[in-house]
């Protein structure tokens, strides 16, 4: 694409949504640009550019990161999960079902990042309290929903707890 010679590039191999990919990438390439422009995974969004809004949240080895400020070379040998890999075929992930059911989706621009952050939380803690969800999603902004339905959706998705 670019006529410019990049100062240096590096071969980067990683697994994304279960598939192995190997790309020759400029060392300064950002993970968000690689996902969106090289791999066509447009679910993660660019909004604040500075790791505040969470719209670009993807998981690297299961942990949420802001892909807008994450160097792509850092994912070499690691596992990247994006919203596109959340459903299994036509079967939605329970979080996706819950977001729809609870009305947690409006414009949808924050949704991919919200879902991935919430997934990281549920993987860590299957039945978080509302307070825990609030704290965990602090780094994901939403300007449409006012958050309440997002919080409800994540809490509702938590495994029913045994006993009280």
């Amino acid at each position: 694409m670019s006529d410019i010679r990049t100062p240096s590039s590096s071969s980067v191999s990683f697994r994304v949504n279960g598939q192995m990919v190997t790309l020759d990438l400029p060392v300064h390439a950002l993970l968000l640009d690689v996902l969106r422009d090289r791999l066509g995974l447009k679910g993660a969004k660019r909004s604040c550019d500075i790791q505040v809004c969470g719209a670009c949240t993807v998981l690297v080895d299961g942990a949420p990161v802001s892909a807008c400020t994450y160097l792509a070379v850092e994912v070499d040998g690691r596992v990247v999960s994006t919203v596109e890999g959340l459903a299994e075929g036509d079967a939605l992930h329970p979080l996706q079902e819950s977001f729809i059911e609870c009305g947690a989706v409006q414009c949808g621009f924050c949704t991919s990042g919200m879902l991935m952050a919430a997934k990281a939380l549920l993987d860590e803690e299957p039945a978080p309290t509302a307070e825990r969800v609030v704290a965990y999603l602090r780094g994901n902004l939403c300007r449409c929903t006012g958050y309440r339905k997002v919080i409800d959706a994540v809490v509702a998705c938590g495994r029913p707890r045994a006993g009280t």
Partner: protein, 766 residues
């Protein structure tokens, strides 16, 4: 007796839910065109400066750069645009009028090259004296933001713009009722004060984006993140001097709007760059650039209210100055609409209102959820509480006494009040437990609002019934998160008795979907909803006519049921009826709906299609050490006539309340020496998950709205009462009245400390 609706009134799943939770939803920035180039904008570092010289040769020479464009390269088009005044240049012409104004643009093979090239452009500026506040702009002899009279825009209700020559005032609005200010002679108690409202950023999470592409027939297609494709079309047709029919605006999903994407913003530049390069050009702003593109108008509002001893509100006067920034955008209409309903939901016999729209050297002010109403309601609703205190009355009771009744006249020729304020107020008071004692360290406050929608106004729709009984709705309502496409699908499905899943609402495309004025002003459910209902009814009429012929001329008693026309004699499916009509398994029935109430004798030239009305009630606590306000509980009650989709209505109002909490507690764009200090999401603080109070959104539904099935608008109203409800709660809890938003800890702390000094001079205040 019509059978009860089956789809309308239920929370059917959003039609775009699946694509949005799977990452498949596409926004402008997700699109690609063959051969697409990327543009970046060089912006003015000064608030006000003459552009003396621009040196572009070095930037042009950079590999991968396809064009470097300044206003000198735009001689072939009409380089000014704007809905009220054509005062905004596509790129700065001779003068830059605010920090961040586009001065030059680079088009390159990719964004990173374009960004590098920006650094290679040399601009010589001669800094000019700037005005960045209302005070500076209105001072005698203030530097003028615009030296010459700008060209008029195209709106009928703005045909009588009244600038004040030789000043920065670009429009004045006056409204008088009864004896005006002379009505204060009837008042026993008068309250008066000045309130200010800050500059606020929308922060729609998707910044503005456009992809422009010219074809071989002099036609321009723009994929744009806009709330009103048809307004953008008008601007582009004029700028590029081509027929409206040759401008095609396609609108994918929007990542939020809130008013920031009304009227042309970056589409003119994208179109110009595509013309110059002969290639598709993508122009995607960053969030920081959105801060330099549009914001809410800040305002200084002086209000005087006169009450009789018995609590009757007899006179109101308001003088407001609104900062519309460097370019008027839709500011003149904002000040008209905001001022017009300054007296809120209250019956006031004598009224005198005046507003000025004032240019400053700051980011242009434009439409933002509430459209001028939040700025004035902040003042008026606070003063009503002050009056209650003076009159020894309960604030809820004082409000109740003065509320408009259902059907009452607001102004001559205007739509009568179409909802029940009293019911809303009672519901809100009950939900916040108004009559019960509050804990000693908590305070409760309440506030109300009323807002007119835009008028005159036009929405047109087409409904197509296909041979397999599926339906296409053609409507230019933009989906920006509110769920309009779902609501329109519900309306068509209800009328045609087909499952909502079988209705496809097409995305706006001015080459295909018919005219709609705008997706704003909470108007889509009412106006486009009616157009879709009418178009679906047109199809229903055609079905019944065909069925009557088939059922031996008996048109009476025929009705639609589950995708068929039924009568006492039997049932014929839509598919069979289309076969009858066309003599083959093809063809389609096309229905048309046009909602265009036209002009009226109402003061603003058109009668509002409906009144948006809401009440808010807050319970708060204040940290005496830090001054931080915690909003613990919030109740919003909106009179929406009827909810087409209850879950979507809740979503609208919950979002509106939280956005209102943003400007009430945290949000303000700060300038120093003309520089925006916090134009990014680190320094500009929007509400987060931890800021959500215990939040209840309730609805008054009397099916008395002007929209389909008794519905009317929702979505803006509930934002408006938030600030005064919180401010009133603060005043009732602490005795401190703040008149400046946002209610930051510092402001609250200083006020608490000042009060402690005056009230308890003997106590030691630390």
């Amino acid at each position: 007796m019509t059978p009860r609706e089956r789809i309308v009134g239920t929370s059917v799943r959003r039609v775009d839910a699946l694509e949005k939770v799977t990452g498949r939803a596409r926004y402008v920035t997700d699109l690609d065109r063959p051969g697409m180039l990327h543009a970046k904008i060089l912006r003015s570092p000064y608030a006000h400066a003459r552009v003396v010289r621009i040196e572009t040769a070095t930037a042009r020479a950079l590999a991968g750069v396809r064009a470097v464009v300044t206003s000198a390269d735009l001689g072939w088009c009409e380089p000014y645009f704007g809905p009220a005044y054509r005062d905004r240049p596509v790129l700065a012409i001779d003068v830059a009028r605010h920090e961040g104004e586009p001065v030059a643009a680079v088009v390159a093979d990719d964004e990173s090259v374009a960004r590098q090239a920006l650094d290679l452009i040399e601009v010589e500026y001669e800094e000019l004296a700037a005005v960045t506040t209302l005070e500076e702009a209105l001072a005698p002899g203030a530097p003028l933001v615009h030296a010459s009279k700008p060209l008029a825009g195209h709106f009928a209700d703005l045909s009588s713009l009244r600038p004040k020559p030789g000043t920065n005032i670009c429009h004045q609005f006056d409204f008088e009722r009864g004896r005006g200010a002379a009505g204060f002679v009837d008042a026993d108690v008068v309250v008066e004060d000045t309130y200010t409202f800050p500059r606020v950023q929308h922060y729609a999470m998707e910044p503005h984006a456009a992809i422009a592409c010219w074809d071989d027939q002099d036609g321009l297609t723009v994929w744009a993140s806009t709330q009103n494709p048809y307004s953008v079309r008008v601007e582009l047709a004029r700028i590029f001097r081509v027929d409206l029919s040759r401008i095609r605006i396609i609108v994918p999903l929007l990542g939020g709007g809130f008013g920031s994407k009304t009227y042309a913003k970056i589409e003119p530049l994208a179109g110009a760059l595509a013309r110059i390069t002969g290639r598709p050009v993508r122009l995607a702003l960053s969030a920081d650039e959105a801060f330099r593109t549009v914001r809410r108008c800040d305002a200084r509002v002086r209000v005087r209210l006169g009450f009789r001893r018995d609590g009757a509100l007899v006179a109101a006067q308001c003088e407001a100055q609104w900062d519309v920034g460097a370019y008027a955008d839709i500011g003149p209409r904002i000040i008209q609409k905001g001022t017009y309903t300054a007296t809120g939901p209250y019956r006031v016999p004598h009224v005198l209102l005046h507003s000025d729209a004032v240019y400053t050297n700051t980011t242009p002010g434009g439409a933002f959820r509430g459209f001028g109403v939040p700025q004035i309601a902040w003042a008026v609703e606070s003063l009503i509480d002050d009056a209650a205190l003076r009159l020894g009355r309960d604030p809820v009771e004082l409000r109740r006494q003065n509320l408009f009744a259902h059907g009452e006249e607001f102004a001559r020729g205007e739509t009568p009040i179409d909802g029940k304020f009293e019911e809303s107020l009672a519901r809100a008071a009950e939900a916040i437990r108004w009559s019960e004692a509050v804990l000693a360290d908590r305070g409760r406050g309440i506030a109300m609002m009323m807002k007119a929608s835009v008028a005159p106004t036009v929405s047109e729709a087409i409904v197509r019934l296909h041979a397999d009984s599926s339906v296409t709705v053609l409507a230019s309502t933009v989906e920006m998160g509110q769920g309009a496409r779902t609501v329109l699908a519900q309306i068509a499905a209800e009328v045609l008795t087909v499952p909502v899943e079988r209705v496809l609402v097409a995305m706006p495309d001015t080459a295909i979907t018919p005219y709609d004025q705008t997706t704003s002003s909470s108007r889509s459910t009412t106006m486009m909803g009616r157009a879709v209902e009418e178009a679906a009814e047109d199809v229903r009429g055609q079905l019944i006519q065909i069925a009557a012929g088939r059922l031996h001329g008996e048109g009476v008693g025929l009705r639609l049921e589950d995708g068929a026309v039924v009568s006492g004699r039997g049932r014929v499916t839509f598919g069979e009826l289309l076969e009858t009509r066309f003599g083959m398994g093809g063809g389609e029935l096309i229905g048309r709906g046009v909602v265009a109430p036209g002009r009226s004798q109402a003061p603003l030239g058109g009668s509002t299609p409906f009144w948006e009305m809401a009440v808010g009630a807050a319970e708060i606590a204040v940290d005496q050490e830090t001054g931080a306000i915690s909003v613990l509980e919030y109740v919003s009650v909106a009179d929406v006539g009827r909810r087409i989709n209850p879950l979507l209505c809740e979503g609208q109002d919950e979002g509106a309340v939280m956005q209102g909490l943003g400007h009430s507690l945290y949000e303000e764009m700060l300038y120093e020496h003309g520089q925006l200090l916090n134009g990014n999401l680190v320094d500009y603080r929007v509400p987060r998950t931890g800021d959500v109070p215990h939040l209840q959104c309730r609805f008054v539904e009397n099916a008395d709205g002007a929209g389909p099935f008794g519905a009317k608008g929702v979505g803006e109203g509930s934002l408006v009462p938030v600030s005064p409800a919180v401010g009133n709660a603060l005043a009732r809890l602490t005795g401190v009245r703040l008149r400046e938003l946002p209610l930051t800890p510092e402001r609250v702390w200083r006020a608490l400390r000042a009060r402690a000094r005056t009230d308890q001079p003997t106590k030691d205040v630390t």
